[in-house]
Subunit: 317 residues, 2 copies
């Protein structure tokens, strides 16, 4: 079975890692949100892309889920000593990634080519594609005005009240070469448990993405468990947008795309309501605390996808 | 006595440090070569300026003379792991300087303002001025063609044969505000023991510099001891330019500017020849192995300058 997985940062990276462990790498394509990308200190930083790659390569900090394991912070210490811009924490090893990526982008290499080369150097076998080689910054529209994502997320610690999102320039942006082809060739598309508003929606907003997915079974894994986001501001965003944060709300968010929806046992009460909207539900333990949890959840999701692919009347037994 | 010192990297930084120890800071202005400055990984790097500042602040690596003490190299390890551009070694703490400088330059702040602020943060009392806020890259003309300085110096390890130097755009460049005023107000200008061709000449090439210095006593300290450069390619450059590398050659290089010339005891044989060109010689131990050596040489140079300032017939006892 061929799989295309869409992912944002920490939660998405965990399931992407599980999928990489649970299935043959040559059948897995991971498309990563780049709406969070920004420039800082003159360096081009791709937080979600790095989180996914570090996680797949076993280089991620297991405590935080982002950044590098065995990290040092001497460059930022030095910035702080100068009274500099230390609001976005960049570890020394992590900085090496931004340095070399920036150097190559400045030479005119594409983000996707650089990512392919970095993945090879890091020993990542699955195909990892940034969603676009074009810049598509996510703008968060808040009660304090429009904020670039990292300013909202890191500098302002998600405190401003959110009213909407904008993916700047997405109409003119192109999906990275290979994404539409991978979707056309895939058996199933999986939305990893990432923030629907600012991790998955930016990918789906790219021209041609939804059209390419139209005939494909799509399975989403809820990033909301028991009304809370495992990580990040997803639940807070739902509340500020006037929607009660829940697994059900996530299923409804993706309603037009989904064939199946995977959510946590603590949210089992939504089972029948989700089933009634023509989405096949799967209730299981979706919290990934360990690497084994990632692989286990991925295996369950893959089995669920296989069942969805069996012509109806046979698979639901 | 007011002093303006012109300096390049390691050797110049050592005497500048000695001067800062030997005299009241408010009377010392250090003008630093920025012809070596370059952009790498999208970061703006000022090697001589940082060497001077780190040395004055006690942050320099005592082993190498450049870079930071207690340095780590995790960012460059990370670049190397990616098969990236690791020809120019950037320590993690040092990177912090380049990050914050680049961020502020990209905001439109001037290199001189940034340097003033960095010096304050680092506790440097003397005034340190980059030679220009404009970009004036030193180009080394070699048998392999024209090479930007760092490409010649680091990437090609000074191997190409040198035939000339070019300071690109220097005719349109302005000295940093305060340099011409400091020279006008100074009692003496000191050329630190830096490479004449690529450290001091780029500063002297700035419009107005030589004119401002015309009425001032100028004392140079030879970077060549016993026919060898203490550090760097100065001696090799002299040879390739068809000049025997020696303290005498340095004195002749600066002939039109100098009132006095300080060189090492091992080169005492040049005393009378230098004196015959109307340059007052001072022979002493000029090799600075320790911080005490720096201060001691600076004190000797300052005494020598004071003697030069006494109306002739009194000072030459």
């Amino acid at each position: 079975m061929k799989v295309v997985a869409l992912a944002g940062g920490v939660g998405g990276a965990k399931l992407a890692h599980g999928l990489a462990l649970a299935m043959p790498s040559e059948n897995l394509t991971i498309v990563v949100n780049t709406g969070d990308d920004f420039e800082h200190f003159g360096l081009k930083i791709s937080p979600d892309l790095d989180t996914v790659c570090y996680t797949l390569a076993g280089l991620a900090n297991p405590e935080t889920g982002w950044g590098r394991v065995d990290e040092s912070w001497n460059a930022m210490d030095s910035v702080s000593q100068l009274g500099g811009a230390n609001w976005f924490n960049l570890g020394d090893r992590d900085l090496g990634t931004h340095l070399e990526r920036t150097r190559r982008l400045n030479l005119g290499h594409s983000l996707s080519q650089i990512t392919t080369d970095f993945c090879e150097a890091w020993g990542i076998a699955a195909k990892v594609l940034p969603m676009s080689d074009d810049t598509v910054p996510t703008i968060v529209i808040t009660d304090e005005g429009e904020l670039p994502f990292q300013e909202y997320f890191v500098a302002r610690r998600c405190e401003p009240q959110v009213s909407a999102f904008r993916f700047e320039g997405v109409e003119q942006a192109a999906p990275v070469p290979g994404i539409l082809e991978a979707i056309e060739a895939t058996d199933v598309v999986i939305f990893c448990p990432s923030n629907p508003w600012v991790s998955i929606d930016p990918i789906l907003a790219l021209p041609g993405l939804r059209k390419a997915m139209a005939d494909k079974p799509v399975v989403a894994v809820s990033p909301i468990i028991g009304g809370q986001a495992v990580k990040g501001p997803a639940a807070k965003m739902y509340t500020e947008l006037g929607i009660e944060p829940s697994a059900l709300a996530v299923a409804q968010h993706y309603q037009n795309e989904l064939s199946g929806f995977v959510f946590d046992s603590v949210d089992e009460r939504y089972y029948s309501e989700i089933e009634s909207t023509d989405i096949q539900p799967l209730v299981t333990n979706t919290l990934m605390k360990s690497v084994e949890d990632r692989q286990h959840l991925a295996e369950e999701v893959l089995r669920f996808c296989e069942e969805l692919l069996i012509p109806s009347g046979v698979g639901s037994g």
